[in-house]
């Protein structure tokens, strides 16, 4: 990479949706959406449930623990931090 990317997640990171981003449930299409200034992202699977916990108060461990209790047996500990890191790289979560 040549440019100033966001770098690694800070220790004790408390993920929050970027102010540019709005997480919404679309009743017409029965879909979860991230709405941005110039685009709409249709969320699949559990993405909206994860992002819904990114309130700037919960830290990453808390989010993982909550999801683990809601989805026993799912590979939460591996998948959720990786997903949130991708969201952070996109600038949608910070």
């Amino acid at each position: 990479m040549t440019g100033p990317g966001p770098g690694p997640a800070p220790a004790g990171w408390r993920p929050a949706l970027s102010p540019a981003v709005s997480l919404r449930h679309d009743r017409v299409r029965d879909a979860d959406l991230l709405v941005l200034p110039e685009r709409v992202v249709v969320l699949r699977g559990s993405a909206a449930k994860i992002l819904g916990l990114c309130d700037g108060d919960r830290d990453l461990d808390t989010i993982v623990a909550e999801l683990r209790s809601r989805f026993p047996g799912a590979p939460v500990a591996e998948d959720v931090p990786a997903f949130l890191d991708r969201m952070r790289t996109q600038g949608w979560v910070r």
Partner: protein, 368 residues
């Protein structure tokens, strides 16, 4: 026939009134007068219906939407309908109190226009002293923590200043800089001779954008809206006719795209007579060029038809007199010579290689 997909976006043209008189404005030559504009209650109802129809995103645009004293109420109506709002503004009229009111009403994002990096040139192109107001507006939007987009319409008069334009957008804290090569509709079509760039200018501009993209590494989004006259490829106009978004004009006319008011026999519906749902699903205007049934050769059997939808209907009409023809921007169009003549020198005042004269614009104004 299967039902049309639901629209995602609404372009709400709240007024054609504008303190700026930009010669590249794509608004129609016949601007809607203030007295014929929809009322607050009518826009509130439009937003409610749009939300029910599936719209999740609205650009509050114009003209200059800040001229509407009821803008905050319209923002509230959109937000209540579950619709994300972006204000598309010149920045003129945006002070701290106004922005606070709009943000409290639920405004999510602001897109600010800029005409040039140089204040005097920006004011000259806009036909109004507005640069200082834009600079202030950008600072206010940043201070409010809203995402800021800067939109710069590019043409012969500012393409050579692209480096400085991008730098200015970054100085102002833009998250996104949209470098939009002029699309020739409305006032822009009238001013085409003085706006049309040279191929050399565009080649240099493309290099500039690439250099900045490499340097920025995605930290700021640089969007290049292609100059379709020069690329030999039709743009996928509006993501297809009546496929993704709809426009409501200041007087309530519902259009598949903002330029479609120029099509003489379209007979578009109006929210004063019909619901948005009816306009989208059943009106002749929205069904006329929907899908592929309307296409003729070369589009009908072309492998690109699912990618560019035959290009732009309004451009086909403007350049050939027939909106159902292939967009002449496409090199496969039998009418492509019309565009080639404009971009290769023949039929072009001064020729394409000559130094670009600037100014001489027909400035956009009501009744102009």
């Amino acid at each position: 026939m299967t039902a049309a997909p639901r629209p995602w976006a609404l372009l709400a043209e709240l007024t054609h009134g504008c303190p700026l008189h930009c010669p590249y404005c794509s608004n129609p030559l016949e601007l809607v007068r203030r007295a014929r504009e929809l009322s607050t209650a009518e826009w509130t109802e439009v937003m409610r219906q749009a939300g029910e129809l599936g719209v999740v995103h609205t650009h509050l645009s114009g003209g200059e939407p800040l001229l509407r004293g009821d803008l905050a109420e319209i923002v509230t109506a959109a937000e209540s309908a579950g619709i994300y709002t972006q204000l598309v503004t010149s920045g003129v009229g945006l002070d701290g109190a106004r922005l606070t009111t709009l943000t409290a009403a639920g405004l999510r994002s602001v897109q600010l226009s800029l005409q040039h990096a140089d204040p005097a040139a920006s004011d000259r192109i806009a036909g109004h002293r507005s640069y200082a107001a834009k600079e202030r507006a950008a600072a206010l939007v940043r201070a409010a923590g809203l995402p800021l987009g800067i939109n710069v319409v590019l043409h012969r008069d500012n393409l050579d200043a692209l480096d400085a334009v991008i730098q200015r957008g970054l100085d102002w804290g833009a998250d996104r800089i949209e470098l939009a090569n002029t699309q020739f509709y409305g006032w822009a079509l009238r001013n085409r001779d003085v706006l049309l760039p040279t191929r050399d200018q565009l080649d240099r501009a493309r290099d500039t954008v690439q250099r900045w993209r490499d340097r920025l590494g995605g930290a700021t989004d640089l969007v290049w809206v292609v100059p379709d006259y020069f690329d030999g490829v039709a743009k996928p106009c509006m993501g297809g006719w009546g496929a993704v978004s709809l426009t409501v004009a200041p007087d309530g006319t519902v259009l598949p795209c903002p330029a479609a008011a120029s099509l003489p026999d379209l007979d578009p519906p109006n929210v004063r007579d019909h619901s948005l749902e009816w306009a989208w699903d059943h009106s002749g205007a929205f069904n006329r060029y929907r899908g592929e049934e309307w296409m003729r050769e070369p589009c009908r059997t072309c492998s690109r038809r699912a990618a560019d939808f035959g290009g732009c209907r309004c451009q086909a009409y403007a350049l050939t007199g027939d909106a159902a023809r292939t967009d002449p921007a496409c090199a496969l169009s039998p009418d492509h010579g019309v565009i080639r003549a404009l971009t290769t020198g023949t039929g072009r005042p001064g020729g394409a290689g000559d130094p670009a004269p600037t100014g001489g614009y027909a400035y956009r104004k009501p009744g102009g």
